[in-house]
């Protein structure tokens, strides 16, 4: 028996928590790349045709939980006031390559605030300057329903930003989105979703063995799956040196791109990811989710959290706004 302590700080969950018995997707095709199931070496810097790489990420924070009782009827419903920040960092494509580069800079940072209320409740809160919470009705009543809906707000905002940025400057930008792609839009040519942690497996045991054996910068061949809703190509990639004392999935990320791309384009994107991402990997003492939480993304998250404002202040402002609304008898549909 071998026991490895997971590298992420316990508060941040786990980098690998796979339900092995979940079964292989029916449409899985591991021969999509056509190179045989073996490690693919890291892509070459010279093959990169973009000028900059953009990292997109979002953060969210629950500012207050509310409970809404309508004037008529007794179907009270729970709700959450949430602040969401989404932004992008632009890095020189040569960043981390040792050559002198332009400094990383935040090119976009937007904050959205919503109040998600179950049972289709529509409640907008104007808590103060810069603290306008838009209504977000949620059909169900379960906390997970609210959670998913809010998460979708963030993912959608990320996806919109990703497509907008990738499209804006044509082929000059490669966009890496932190997390799975919410929109498998074929219009965006160079958008890669990067998934930091793994709680599902798509491959069988023999195929998964290759993941554990990947060296730094190596990736698996890309494979196809996703069904009719989210058809995509995906591959596993190791960001750091393989450590014998660690479990085999330490430092592994999964990348995905929409299946609308041609195999040749996917191959280029996959090679670009294996060339670039290890350079941006963070170090264990630097980040609690190293190496998967990339340095530019960590910087962006810090910036976005900062933009969300003071949580205690938001909480107090929401309380006073709620008191005002209740006193004023404002209706909740």
């Amino acid at each position: 028996m071998k026991i490895a302590v997971q590298a992420w700080a316990p508060d941040y969950g786990s980098e690998v928590e796979i339900a092995w018995d979940q079964g292989r997707p029916e449409d899985l095709d591991v021969t999509a790349e056509g190179v045989g199931w073996k490690a693919v070496p890291a892509g070459k810097q010279n093959d990169l045709t973009w000028e900059e790489v953009l990292f997109i990420d979002g953060v969210r924070r629950t500012d207050a939980r509310v409970f809404v009782t309508p004037e008529v009827g007794d179907r009270a419903s729970a709700g959450v006031a949430v602040s969401v920040g989404v932004g992008a960092v632009s890095c020189d494509i040569a960043a981390g390559n040792g050559s002198p580069v332009r400094a990383a800079r935040i090119v976009e940072a937007v904050v959205k605030r919503v109040v998600a209320v179950g049972g289709g409740g529509e409640l907008a809160l104007s808590a103060g300057p810069g603290l306008e919470y838009a209504a977000l009705p949620v059909a169900g009543f379960a906390p997970e329903d609210l959670d998913r809906k809010v998460h979708d707000v963030m993912r959608d905002a990320e996806a919109v930003l990703a497509i907008e940025l990738a499209a804006a400057a044509g082929s000059g930008r490669l966009v890496i989105v932190d997390g799975p792609l919410a929109k498998m839009s074929p219009g965006a040519t160079a958008v890669i979703g990067m998934i930091k942690s793994h709680n599902a497996t798509y491959l069988d045991e023999a195929e998964n063995a290759l993941v554990s054996e990947l060296e730094c910068g190596e990736r698996t061949p890309f494979f196809y799956f996703g069904g009719p809703q989210r058809p995509r190509y995906s591959w596993y990639l190791r960001l750091c040196e393989r450590d014998e004392d660690m479990h085999g999935w330490h430092g592994i990320v999964r990348c995905e791109v929409p299946a609308a791309h041609s195999v040749g384009t996917v191959s280029t994107l996959a090679d670009a990811s294996s060339c670039l991402l290890p350079r941006f990997a963070s170090l264990p003492h630097w980040d609690a989710r190293a190496p998967q939480n990339l340095v530019p993304i960590a910087g962006l998250e810090k910036h976005l959290r900062h933009l969300l404002g003071d949580r205690d202040l938001a909480y107090r402002m929401i309380r006073s706004a709620a008191a005002r609304l209740s006193g004023g008898g404002e209706q909740v549909a």
Binding site: V89, C91, D92, A94, A95, G96, P100, V101, R102, A103, A104, R105, I106, R279, F280, W286, L294, V295, P296, A298, G299, L300, K302, H303, H306
Partner: protein, 580 residues
Amino acid sequence: MPDETMGPVGLVLGSEATSTQEFHVVLHEDEYLQLDDLVVVRTLVPKIGEVTTYGIVVETAARYEGTSFESDTFRVAVAGTLPAEKSRTAVVQVVRVMPEMWIAPDSGQPVYRAVGEERERALYVDEMGDESGARALPVGLTRDDEPVWADVDFFDGTKGAHMSISGVSGVATKTSYALFFLRCLTSHPEILGKSAKNMRTLIFNVKGEDLMFLDKPNARFSDEHGAKWKTLGMEPKPFPSVSFWAPSRPKKGSEGIPQSSARLEGVEAFRWTPREFVDNGLLQFLFTDASDSRQQITWVAERVARQLSRWARDVAGEPGAVVLRDPAMLEDDGTPVVAREGDLVIRDLSDLVEAIGEHLEPESGAEPDPGWTGRVAGGTATAFMRRLYSSLSRIGQLISAGESRRIDRSREAVTVVDIHDLHDAAQRFVVGALIKEVHDEKEGKGRFPLSIIVLDELNKYAPREGWSPIRDTLIDIAQRGRSLGVLLIGAQQTASRIHPELLSNAALRVSGRLDSAEAERSEYGWMLPSTRARARLFKPGTMVLSQPAIPAPTVLTFPYPPWATRPEEVIEAGDPFEGV
């Protein structure tokens, strides 16, 4: 109103609390602030209205905002992987609030550079002077070549007096600044008013020959230097009215020829006649060594000096010489006496010593005359005589009969006395004699006209420990100089080694570069901590000035002198070889 056409340099930092003493400024990307810059902020205070805060930059800083690891700097600057904002800030010390409501400036308020009238207000120029006229004297330049002012009221005795200059030697700034300051005083009669009238300055040239060419134009002086003088409202000219004095040469035949290695022309020889020596009580200045005070010698000296003034009679036909006659035997009617056969006519110091010896150590082996010794133990009288003898070779040249060669301080506005070639004891003798002369002359005569004394190496004349007659006079000048009209510009390497009275009575304090250990001493408590730290690094020509009129010390520079400070800089009026 701040000059808003220039735009603010930044905003009052809001992530840290402001106070009535200090606030931070976060700078705009295309602006900067450097140490000593003056800034102004306006705050709208409820119920009061607008309050204007003036401040001086005491520190500046830059950092990557949002980075927490040292290595993040590489991630930001070299690797380009971590996004971070570069933020630059300045720490501002509040110097003035108008109206005087002590309220901290609001965060986020725009911060402007104080220029023009605002700058003058930050430096309290509007408070220098009264209905009768402005009293703000330009005394230096800031780093950006704008004038810095001092309130003359705090130098000329109106509200305060004296200037104390400290700084390590070799950087040649102490005396240079003293002279520059003098030039400021003499160039602005309109600011000095009645203080300027007949003002006389006595300067001792203690080291080298720097001060012997104050009246000569400097060949290295350029138009660029001149522009700085113009900023201060002064014509860059050498001192117009200076007399130079050097000790008379010791050799008999060279009597009346100045002993000055630096300059021959325009220098006059000085010395005292035995008559002047006796009348002015100069005997005490032969005993200025710290060890003299411990052995009752000064007491004997006092006694002997009194006897000398009672016994001394002029000698007919020999100006300046005296003979000793017992006043009990011959009443002093003030007429010269005719020297008799065997009379000891005192024509120089050695005659005087011999004459004194006749009373203190009679050759006949008789007991010393108690009228002269005051019945001290025999050993003390012997020690006294031993010291007198030893002073012969050191000070002898300064006493000689003949026509009077006293230093005439009234002749020119500035009197330079060159003592750098003299033995230490002789230097103390000259300084002591002249300072006493200035002091006694002003005693009981009112403040005007003013007398200024410039003295370097003050620690030698007024040390913290020990006693000397010079120290006593200097302390008296420090304490009463304001009312006497005697103003001291004292310079020393280390303020900690001079008598505290001299420091505490100096209204204007100036310091150049300081030794690090020295800068930590309490004598420099008037500096801001940041200025103290910086005082170790001051370049020649950079000084910090503290004056009662401004609560924060001002760092200043002063322009290159238009007068020569060594022979090779002198521009002679004509070609000396013309016509040869």
